[in-house]
Symmetry: C2
Subunit: 296 residues, 2 copies
């Protein structure tokens, strides 16, 4: 019979657990709020026990900061999080010890990138970026078919962008950098600048061309640094259908014909796209991590 | 006996050809000016003919723009260069046909990155960037042990940087983007801003803190996007011993403790470094391309 894989989207607010082999074959699923580590991890482990005999591996996509380095003594830990009770929690180890399974572990955005690569908007591509623009700005980078970890993992939300203080006197909200990408363009930045939630701003509001401008400046940086074959943008702020066309046009304007690739020049609608897995990116991504680790 | 590898640094001004197995074993070397494709490639081919029986493969590191995609019908070509006589020249094919050897081919900066990885400042690392800041600004990116190509190849000189027009009214010199990284911080930009060549500016000139600032903004972008284990900076502009300390301090100031890695916080002298292969980066890099392609 087909071996199954388990996926855990370990979010700061809720956990989602699933068992299956992919988006069209989810055999079971559960979701519950994130409380204490003991209670939350225990509940997730109990869910998987019912499928233990059929599971070939488990993947965990975790809120952070995490240690995703398999060579590190704290691999699989949630590390310095401000979330009460969770600092220095061995999340991957709890599953591994309780279930006796190989456990793959990474950040939520890295897992989402892997999921989009396997089943979603980046199928068949080897170099792409998955970006989420919501409460924070983060991303997973895949290059040459493999997640980029490097020193720790990318922190794409914290690049510095040109900021015209006359046109936009908003100082940014990043506690570390002020007007970095996240400081200027996250959901909370949008709300702080315009004094109302982004999803309540009308489509013709000046917020949107400015938002598209900052997003485009960041995408130009990623395009020039990584030469991605596609850029996938999710997260709450991107749930505005009018934002993608503004963003694509602004990317073309800023690149000004320099990157001579049909994907950028003629097919930008397929180059800068929303995710395909949407709300399932986390749990399917974690399942994909487990399948990648198993070489499946 | 040991099989040898050939390397060709195919520059727009000069060609350097060598035969050997690495920096401590260069068996023969020649250099000559770049004239017409027929004459220049013919001269390089003649050099390698003497070693043909001992060669296991050849690598070419070429001036650009080039097509480095092995799946493309114009793989190994110099494409739309303004250099007279050279547009659409099948450089790799000329060597392959004349010598009957496997020919690896890439951009000059990609080859230099591979050379630094094999023998230079990035030995033992799998994710790093090699940046050259000279007449232009370019770079090669290695992630997970492999060169990043993606859609075409990175163009790291063309990211947009914060530009305080009051502090620095210089508009930048990039014909495509004005004040992108290359437009603000290349050698010709430095010379145009200060009306004298960079290497004639004294170490206490205000040019240098400003130069360090732009370089640091770019490195912060690369650090956040790639999480490199090291950044290697070469090129004429970096030949100023006082520039590295300014640059390292400015990177730390801009990151402001956000990237919690000892490499950044405590060992930045070993994190942002000059190349180890210096003037041999091109020809050794091309040899390294050939050895990589042969799995050696």
């Amino acid at each position: 019979m087909t071996r199954l894989y388990g996926g855990v989207e370990a979010g700061g607010t809720k956990f989602v657990c699933a068992v299956g082999t992919g988006p069209n074959d989810i055999r079971a699923e559960t979701r519950f709020p994130t409380t204490t580590p003991d209670e939350t991890l225990g509940r997730a482990i109990d869910f998987f026990r019912d499928y233990q005999a059929d599971l070939a591996g488990l993947g965990v996509a975790s809120f952070g900061p995490v240690d995703p380095n398999p060579a590190s003594p704290t691999f699989g830990y949630v590390t310095t999080t401000p979330k009460r009770g969770w600092p220095n929690t061995d999340v991957a180890g709890a599953f591994r010890r309780a279930l006796g399974l190989p456990v793959a572990f990474d950040t939520d955005v890295n897992a989402a990138a892997v999921g989009e690569g396997r089943w979603g908007a980046a199928q068949g591509l080897d170099t792409f970026i998955y970006l989420t623009v919501g409460t924070g700005v983060g991303g997973g980078v895949v290059a040459g078919g493999r997640l980029v970890h490097g020193l720790i993992h990318p922190e794409v939300g914290h690049i510095r962008l040109p900021h015209d203080w006359q046109a936009d006197p908003f100082p940014g909200i990043c506690p570390y950098h002020g007007d970095c990408f996240e400081g200027l363009a996250s959901g909370p930045a949008l709300e702080a600048r315009w004094k109302q939630r982004g999803d309540t701003l009308p489509a013709d509001h000046p917020a949107w061309p400015l938002q598209a401008h900052y997003l485009a400046l960041a995408l130009v940086c990623f395009i020039c640094t990584l030469s991605p074959q596609r850029l996938i943008l999710g997260g709450g702020v991107m749930n505005q259908p009018h934002l993608f066309p503004l963003l694509r046009a602004e990317v073309q304007r800023l690149l000004n014909g320099y990157v001579q690739a049909p994907a950028v020049l003629d097919q930008i609608d397929q180059y800068i796209v929303p995710p395909a897995l949407a709300g399932y990116a986390g749990v399917l991504g974690s399942m994909a991590l487990a399948m990648d680790a198993a070489g499946k």
